[in-house]
Each structure stands twice: as C-alpha cells, then as structure tokens.
C-alpha cells in the first residue's frame, strides 16, 4: 500500500471584493509565512520543503506563465516548482501523487487569484470557450450555469425559495468564518427579490467576486507526524472531465461528478457514502449547485435536493460550514479552499464554526462551464 500523505498546515488570506493594496506576491507571502511557522519547515536543499506547487491562472493574472513572477514568494527560487492551471484542488492531487510516488517527502501548495483585477470575471471565463462556435454567441461561465440551472430546475424539486434559503444560510455560516469578512448576509426575501442574472439564476445566487490566497503543507506520513500534532490524511481523490460542448452533455445528469466521486470513494474504501462524512464542503459557485452537487456525490437522493434543503439537510450534514463559495472565493481556488476548510475542521482548528469531533470529510472542486470538470477529495484524521 502506498504511504499515507497528510495535510500538516493550512493558511489563507481573507477573501475580499478588492484587495487593491496587495499584489499576488503580497497575498502569497501572507500565506507562506504562517505555513512555515506552523511546521518549522524551510526550503533548505537537504531537509526542506521538496517542491512548491502553485495555483494560478494566466488570464486572471493577465500574464502568461503566471507562476514565473511568483517563484521567490513560493520559496521556489532555484528549486522545484510546478503550476496547476486548473481548479486548485488539483494541487492536492498533484502533491499526493508526488509524495506517494516517493518523489518528495514534503510539498507546499499555494494558490492565488485576484478576480478584482480584470474588468469582468465573465470576460475571463468567456475566454474558456472556442472562438468559432461558442464565444461568438457570448457564452461565459455564468450563462452556461444559467443553462444548467434551468436543466436542473426542470428535473428536480429545487425551487426559487430553496435557492434563497441556500444563499441566506451561506451568509449566516460565513459570519463565523474570519476568512470571509465581507460575505453578504441576506434574508430569504432579499434573495427572492434580487434581479435575475441568467434565468433562473438570480444576482444573489452568484458567488461574490473576491481576491485571496490559500495554501497548505503536505507531507509523507513519517514527516507529517513529526511536524504536526494532527495531520489530516488524504485517503481518496478522484476527478472526471466531461465534454467541452454543452450540447454534448446532459447538463442535469451530474455525469462527471458521479464518476469523480465513485473514483474517490473507491480509493478511500467507501462503499456507501451516505452518513460517512462529518463535514462536507462543495464548490457552490451558484446556489443551485449546492443541492445539485450533493445529489451527484450520492449524498442526497437524485431529484430531491429541494426536500433536502427544506428538511434542514445542509445543517444536519454539516455542508459548507465555512459559507462555501457563496461566501466568496476566487473561481480557481474554490476546491482548494474547500479542502482547506475540511482540513481545518478535522484538525479542530475551525474556531467558531468547528463541528464537534469531525473525523472524516469530503471536499469538492469544479471547473469549466456548467460543471465540466469535477474533483472529489476524501480527508480523514486518525
């Protein structure tokens, strides 16, 4: 059996609408320094951190090869550095593979993004589409989500009031999370009264624009136990990439998420996922995604997300105690922040939002239009 890999330290900046006073490098340093302080690690060649895995996006950063101006603040000068240009939870997967493969014993994961820098987040995700067939009609991730939200609404019991409750709950949860000081606190009525963005998605259903950075230290078991009192083990990871063209997919089917979850569950040795997780963090960029992804994960009956919300399911299952993406995380860091939040819960470091005696959790990340690419990570503590 491959050696165990643990998350030994977690750090993040706040996520705020406009960190006008900070460059990427400043945000990254704000994360790097506490990670080194928590673990006592450094970047010395013999026993220091073996590799740095950065997460960033060229178009969001407006510079090609967006990691190359970051190497000094990643400790990566003259060392081993890799970049994840996908949703950030892939960095966890990458670090896991590098450590399990015996390539290194320790890895730094550090992602940054300033959604406030570009004039419009939708213009950035518009670039994800091809220039001949899909860009000319104006597609971006919000419009694509509108199409998926409609398809899901047609096939599930989730209605406008359920979605308003999801958003209102996210705001309440975020009040207990010091990383989301600007999360909007809204009532059900305020959400229901907010204008449509891309029907049936309302303005308040969309995750807020934010800037921030998040990082972790990963280590092989022996090192993890030496540098950390409470390592969180990565016991299963799975992902799946669906078709590019929206028309090639069944948008309400959760096909890719089901595959990703099945792969992660199989690797973690989980037959029946129901009731197996003490905390769950899903990447809900838009309100409809929280129940939809929960169905895709097999944690809620298919088509019954509305009843699950009405019955207090999110609280009962400790879903997005952090506030989730609806409380504000940059797009490319959504899943990585989810993993960071689950890790904090399992370490017992989640402060006021701590779930008592949390032992196993699930973190979910998503990228691409209308949930093209899903990742699932299972985290556990001893």
């Amino acid at each position: 059996m491959a050696r165990r890999v643990g998350i030994c330290a977690v750090a993040q900046t706040t996520y705020q609408r406009d960190k006008w006073h900070e460059r990427f490098q400043g945000m990254a340093l704000e994360v790097l320094e506490p990670l080194l302080a928590q673990t006592g690690l450094d970047f010395s060649e013999d026993k220091g951190i073996g590799m740095s895995i950065s997460v960033s996006d060229d178009i969001f950063d407006a510079r090609t090869i967006s990691d190359n101006g970051m190497t000094d603040v990643l400790g990566a000068h003259m060392r081993c550095e890799e970049k994840i240009a996908q949703e950030g939870i892939q960095a966890l997967y990458y670090g896991l593979a590098a450590i399990q493969g015996g390539h290194v014993d320790t890895a730094l994961v550090l992602g940054h993004c300033k959604e406030s820098q570009g004039q419009s987040r939708n213009m950035v995700t518009h670039m994800a589409f091809d220039p001949f067939y899909t860009r000319p009609v104006g597609l971006d991730f919000t419009a694509a989500a509108g199409l998926q939200a409609q398809a899901y609404a047609d096939r599930s019991d989730v209605g406008d009031t359920h979605l308003a409750d999801i958003v209102a709950r996210a705001g309440r949860m975020a009040q207990l999370n010091p990383a989301t000081p600007e999360a909007p606190v809204l009532t059900r009525e305020e959400v229901l009264a907010s204008p449509m963005l891309a029907d049936p998605i309302r303005a308040h259903h969309a995750y807020p624009v934010s800037d921030g950075a998040v990082g972790m230290i990963l280590a092989a078991e022996e090192t993890a136990l030496a540098i950390c009192d409470h390592p969180v083990w990565i016991t299963g990871v799975g992902n799946c990439m669906d078709s590019f063209f929206l028309g090639d997919r069944d948008l309400a089917s959760n096909f890719a998420l089901k595959q990703a979850a099945a792969r992660a569950y199989q690797r973690a040795g989980i037959d029946q996922p129901r009731d197996r997780f003490d905390v769950v963090e899903v990447s809900d960029q838009f309100a409809y995604q929280q129940p939809m992804w929960m169905e895709g994960l097999g944690l809620v009956d298919e088509g019954c997300g509305g009843a699950w919300i009405a019955g207090g399911g999110p609280d009962a299952m400790n879903v997005n105690r952090s506030g989730g993406m609806l409380a504000g995380n940059p797009l490319i860091l959504g899943g990585l922040v989810r993993a960071a939040e689950v890790a904090l819960q399992l370490m017992g470091l989640a402060g006021e939002r701590q779930v008592a005696d949390a032992r196993r959790g699930l973190a979910h990340g998503v990228m691409g239009p209308a949930g093209q690419f899903h990742s699932v990570a299972i985290l556990e503590r001893d």
Partner: protein, 155 residues
C-alpha cells in the same frame, strides 16, 4: 489573516491584457463554416460507431475516438429549443444588449444541440420544445454567427 499593514504607498495602475490571436478553424471547421456561409447549409458529422450526429462537427469522436473527417451529413436549419436562459447582465463580450435569450437548439437530424441566440420573441414567452429556424447573417464573420440568430417558426 487580516492584512492591516501601512497602505500609504499602495495604489493601482490601469492597464490591459491585450493579445492579437490568429485562430485556425481546422479543416473540418473550415468546411463547416464555408458551407454555412456560402450555401446556408448546416453540416454535422456522424460517428458510425456510436451513431451520433455531432453539431458543430469535429474531427474525432471523443467517445469512440474514430476519425470523423469524412463523415459529413447535412442537418436541418430548423429545430427545437431543448433548454434556454435569459442573459441579463451587461458585459463587453456579449453579442447583444441585454436581456437576450441563449437557447440550446436541437437541429433536425442532429443529436447534440448547439447554443445560439433566440430572437423575435419576448424572453418570457420562450418555452422548451418550441420550434425555431435559423436566420442566416447578411455579412459573414466566418463563425457560427453566420447564423445570425434563430427565430420561432411553425412546427
């Protein structure tokens, strides 16, 4: 976690990310676009292995990995709405002033719907299953917008 340092030396500079690109449609894409542009015909490709007609066409079936380069078939310029949203946020990259309807339209003979603009009907009257037809553009852009938009038609 809170960054409460002295920000008196911090400010912002307005700039741009601006890059000139030359995109190639590929051989399959070129034939699709020139046929659409010159003959007002919408072409798909059929994968014989999985019996799926893909629009827009592509060189390879991602499911069977078969070569579809010479598997052309014409699909109808009429179809029906299978899903839609109303885009209501204004943004520079959008092709129309908001609100406008983006619909997934399954053309006659095709198995995969395309996303396109639906016009000539108020957004609140758009319904799934509605019959629509292509309105071809008067001037070419050498893109899918050589269909300017779709409009409702008799079933």
């Amino acid at each position: 976690m809170q960054s409460d340092f002295d920000t008196s030396d911090c400010y912002t500079i307005e700039g741009k990310l601006a890059l000139p690109y030359t995109y190639f449609a590929g051989r399959v894409g070129s034939r699709f676009i020139t046929t659409l542009r010159d003959q007002h015909k919408i072409m798909g490709v059929r994968c014989a292995a999985c019996d799926t007609v893909f629009v827009p066409p592509r060189q390879t079936c991602e499911r069977c990995l078969g070569d579809l380069t010479d598997s052309w078939c014409e699909v109808g310029s009429r179809g029906r709405v299978v899903n839609f949203t109303v885009v209501r946020y204004p943004d520079r990259h959008l092709p129309r002033p908001v609100p406008f309807v983006l619909a997934m339209i399954l053309l006659e003979g095709a198995d995969t719907p395309i996303v396109h603009l639906l016009e000539g009907i108020p957004p609140e009257q758009v319904a799934v299953d509605m019959a629509v037809e292509a309105v071809f553009a008067e001037t070419t852009t050498n893109t899918i917008r050589d269909i300017d938009h779709f409009k409702p038609c008799d079933a």
